[in-house]
Amino acid sequence: MQVNQEFKPTIVAFCCNWCSYAGADLSGTNRLQYPANVKIIRIPCSCRLNPMFILRAFQRGADGVILCGCHPGDCHYTTGNYYARRRMTLLFSMLDFLGIERERTRVEWVSAAEGAKFAATMNEFVETVTKLGENKRLEDLRCKS
């Protein structure tokens, strides 16, 4: 795959309302830089993330999808992120099994206090996906024209 110097990946970050969404906010108020091509979608809990959302984000043009939730043990609803952890592990493994680049998907636990971690994670994820180039394997050509 050719890496385009100009290529700016579209990243969709699903962020749990109770932690990483606030973490993203904090990184903003602290003037920490992370790329503008990260689109944040707020969800009530990492456990709310239906695997279909991830696939549909790819369909609609995402090049990488990241889920940010509360650290295990800190879930606002006690156990939501534990379930999410199992689901995402299996889903990512399945995407890998289908030959879809495993680096395009990621889970990161970011608390409301970790603004710096949020920015660092995003920077690093954007960099990884930039190297991978455009999402070709889970694209929907109809959305590209």
Partner: protein
């Protein structure tokens, strides 16, 4: 009649493919399909492809038109898939007959121009059968598998491929192929067709005049009871032509497309006002009544089935038109 040694088949395909796209039945026996010919591609061992040749004329999905919506304004953008001349080789007599049936649906007024364009662009080269499967029953519908129709009819024995043009399109195609010489096919051996177990499928009880009687027949419940409601039979059927019109919003514009649909699906006739075919029984009955009764009723007694045997092979629970015809046929006497 023309002939060409089997050893030169690749050259023949290459010559056809040099002028227009050529599709041949290729691939493993289990998954044979009409595929665009490429250097080195071999004809499949299977008698027939999984999906029929109707795909090439009535594809599973095709774009109809695009819309761009801005505020209260709508813009209509024609985006029909381009259709270019093509040749399809190796269509069996049963699939070839299916085009007569589809033509009567799509080419009656108002003409479906998507289908019509592909029909005009396509040249059908049929291939006579020599080794039928036990599931074949095209002869029950008066089809001669050893003498198929089409623009060009072909016969193949161990040594030669024999070709006969039946239409102007076929003549033109053959005249462009340098490797052909004159030669007549040896007479076909038809004895195996007499041994086909389903050749005497009872069909005289079907047709429009028996509609009400057959519709009310209580054996439908038993026939339909284990139907899964999947669309396997309809999608492999060469004559099923029901479709759905759907839209896909790309975020930028709206693509209206047509795709195959199946009368076996529960949402096929669902309306906000209700469901005229509420259970699988009605849906199952609709499919077979359509093939054996409704279609003949509006098309001079011609059945909507060509006896290709695909539904016999593909139904997950082995319920098929032969079992339906036999069950209903024997009881209404």
């Amino acid at each position: 009649m023309k002939k060409c040694p089997v050893s030169q088949l690749d050259a023949l395909f290459a010559s056809v493919a040099a002028r227009q796209k050529l599709y041949i039945p290729a691939g493993e026996a289990k998954t044979a399909a009409f595929q665009p010919w490429q250097e080195g591609m071999k004809l499949t061992d299977a008698l027939n492809t999984v999906r029929s040749a109707k795909d090439l004329f009535f594809p599973q999905v095709e774009n109809l038109v695009n819309f761009k919506v801005t505020g209260k304004q709508i813009e209509i953008i024609e985006n029909r898939d381009p259709s270019e001349p093509f040749v399809v080789f190796g269509v069996r007599a049963c699939d070839c007959r299916s085009f007569d049936i589809l033509d009567k649906v799509f080419l009656c007024d108002p003409v479906d121009t998507y289908y019509k364009t592909r029909r005009e662009n396509g040249v059908i080269m049929t291939l006579a059968c020599t080794e039928p499967e036990e599931t074949c029953f095209c002869t029950a519908f008066g089809i001669d598998p050893t003498d198929p129709a089409g623009d060009v009819s072909c016969w193949m024995d161990g040594e030669n491929l024999y070709l006969r043009a039946n239409t102007e399109k076929g003549e033109t195609l053959l005249s462009e192929l340098p490797m052909l010489s004159d030669g007549d096919a040896p007479a076909a051996d038809k004895t195996v067709f007499d041994r086909l177990p389903l050749k005497n499928l009872p069909l005289d009880k079907f047709g429009g005049e028996h509609m009400m009687e057959l519709f009310k027949y209580e054996k439908w419940a038993g026939l339909a009871e284990s139907c899964l409601g999947c669309g396997a039979c309809t999608f492999v059927c060469p004559t099923c032509q029901c479709y759905d019109i759907r839209e896909f919003n790309t975020g930028d514009e709206i693509k209206r497309f047509r795709c195959w649909d199946s009368c076996m699906y529960s949402d096929f006739t669902l309306m906000s006002a209700g469901q005229p075919r509420p259970t699988q029984l009605e849906r199952f009955r609709q499919r077979f009544m359509h093939k054996l009764v409704y279609y003949p009723s509006t098309h001079d007694g011609e059945f909507g089935c060509v006896g290709c045997g695909r539904c016999l092979q593909k139904c997950p629970i082995s319920m098929n038109i032969v079992k339906v015809a036999k069950t209903l046929g024997e009881e209404t006497t």
